[in-house]
């Protein structure tokens, strides 16, 4: 049995981490020592090839909260959650006491899960794809007993008829899953479609949003085409903050906010951590 959304723990404001990220960027344990009360959990992003690193093991061994963000599963393809992936991911998530699993619902690898096959593409925004995504989530939650929160991915283009919020609304409706809304990724989508930052939020089940992501993005120009690079630099775009502010009062199931900033210097991200904690106090 999976945990009801209402029973999921409130984690507060957390920081992202990836294998080896603490060595070059922010070590969460050192950060909480230097700046108490700002970071309450670590969201560890990994693929099975790289696994858990010493940083997240130390964090978890200290009894601190975590979530596990997969970087190697194509949620649009129910067959991708094979027995090996389910077993090894469950082992990794349990080893760090993850409160739930999450991850971008799109294409993390083409073909087999193999060297050189990694990339990240958003899902094809069709009803069939959303239904397949829902099927994957039901399969994983049933096998692992952990909640799976699909996340709206970044993209330089999106294919399909649906608005990305309508896509994830359908995924949640079909599977009963909670949702992870990445506000920076949503800002990218809205810009690409020429829409205001908070377009389509009214039809989105904000009461099923368990986690949100906030991250910096860098505007780039590709031969005259204005795009946003999901750079995870310190400063989120104004669009991203606008989405956060619109979502927070209505996200009644919200349990966690992740500030994806692990590759930066601590003093570059302090003020945003303070701001997020004021918005979502623990």
């Amino acid at each position: 049995m999976t945990t009801a959304l209402a029973q999921l723990p409130r984690l507060g404001v957390g920081i992202s981490a990836e294998p080896g990220s603490a060595a070059a960027g922010i070590d969460a344990l050192a950060f909480v020592q230097d700046h108490p009360g700002l970071v309450h959990f670590v969201e560890y992003g990994a693929d099975l090839a790289r696994g858990l690193d010493d940083h997240v093991r130390r964090w978890a061994a200290a009894g601190r909260a975590t979530t596990y963000h997969f970087l190697d599963l194509n949620l649009e393809d129910p067959g991708d959650a094979d027995d090996d992936w389910l077993r090894d991911t469950a082992e990794a998530a349990r080893a760090i006491g993850a409160a739930w699993l999450c991850g971008d619902a799109g294409l993390w690898h083409f073909g087999a899960r193999d060297r050189g096959h990694q990339m990240l593409l958003p899902p094809i925004l069709t009803r069939d794809s959303a239904d397949a995504c829902a099927e994957s989530i039901l399969k994983i939650e049933g096998a692992l007993g952990l909640r799976v929160l699909p996340e709206n991915p970044p993209g330089a283009f999106y294919v399909g008829d649906l608005h990305i919020l309508d896509y994830f609304a359908r995924v949640s409706e079909a599977s009963g899953c909670g949702l992870l809304l990445d506000c920076a990724h949503l800002a990218m989508f809205q810009r690409l479609r020429g829409l205001p930052p908070i377009a389509a939020l009214d039809g989105f089940p904000l009461d099923r949003v368990v986690e949100i992501h906030v991250a910096g993005g860098a505007p780039v120009d590709i031969e005259g085409l204005a795009l946003v690079d999901d750079a995870h630099n310190p400063e989120p775009l104004p669009d991203t903050w606008q989405i956060v502010e619109a979502v927070l009062p209505r996200a009644t199931s919200l349990r966690a906010i992740v500030y994806e900033c692990e590759k930066n210097a601590p003093d570059e991200v302090l003020e945003n951590f303070r701001r997020l904690n004021r918005m979502f106090p623990s």
């Binding site: 294409l107 073909g111 050189g116 069709t126 069939d128 590709i222």
Partner: protein, 242 residues
Amino acid sequence: MKAHLRAQQAIVRMLFDPEFAARVRREPETALPELPSTLRAQLAAIDPRALKMDRLLRQRTLRTLFDELKASTTLFLARTKKLSSLDDFFRSRAFHDAIATARPLALAYADFLGDAVSPIERALVEARRMKWPPADGRVHRAPGVVPIATTAGALAALQEAEQYLFEVGLMPAVALCDDAPPLALDARAQDPTPLWLVTVPHESSHTLVTIDEPTHRLLASLPAAHTRALQPLIDDEIAVQT
């Protein structure tokens, strides 16, 4: 396969191969016959500039492939003398078929390199991707065990290419110099003496062991363990030849 997954495969091909992407825009019906018309039109409408967002995608992928086929790539470039010849991989049938059939890219790349590929590196690529087959009452080669029939010259060429890479790697900036050391294969690389080897898993890696011809033939006659994402290499009609 569902249409959305076929569309993702097509997008991957478009990202790696600008010529294919241009063909999708120019003649979507013939470039993407496997897709429904709506998705086909949407893929054809992708702004080509958006496909260039990750400008290092191909270099990064080649770097990963090079890791497994270092000597083979070196021998290939020694012939073509053009770095851009590696980009031809992403236009090749081997690449596009690999995406369509979920074949490991490293094996497709080995095929692309043609007769420049070292049979030893090629066997190691395969060995790293094998896994236990379902029990069917037969004796299989264990995962990671791949017999290799090659020549002493091929082994020497591999070693000379590795030595060249080591020396160039001491100061990669030599690539900018007209008098940079060339890859020079000596007479040992032409030695046609038959050589039989087998890859053997050892801890988290593989080692090469020299075997005799009868042992090679025995191993080659056994059904192999599965190669991940490949059709099982099992033949019910195998007969041991002595």
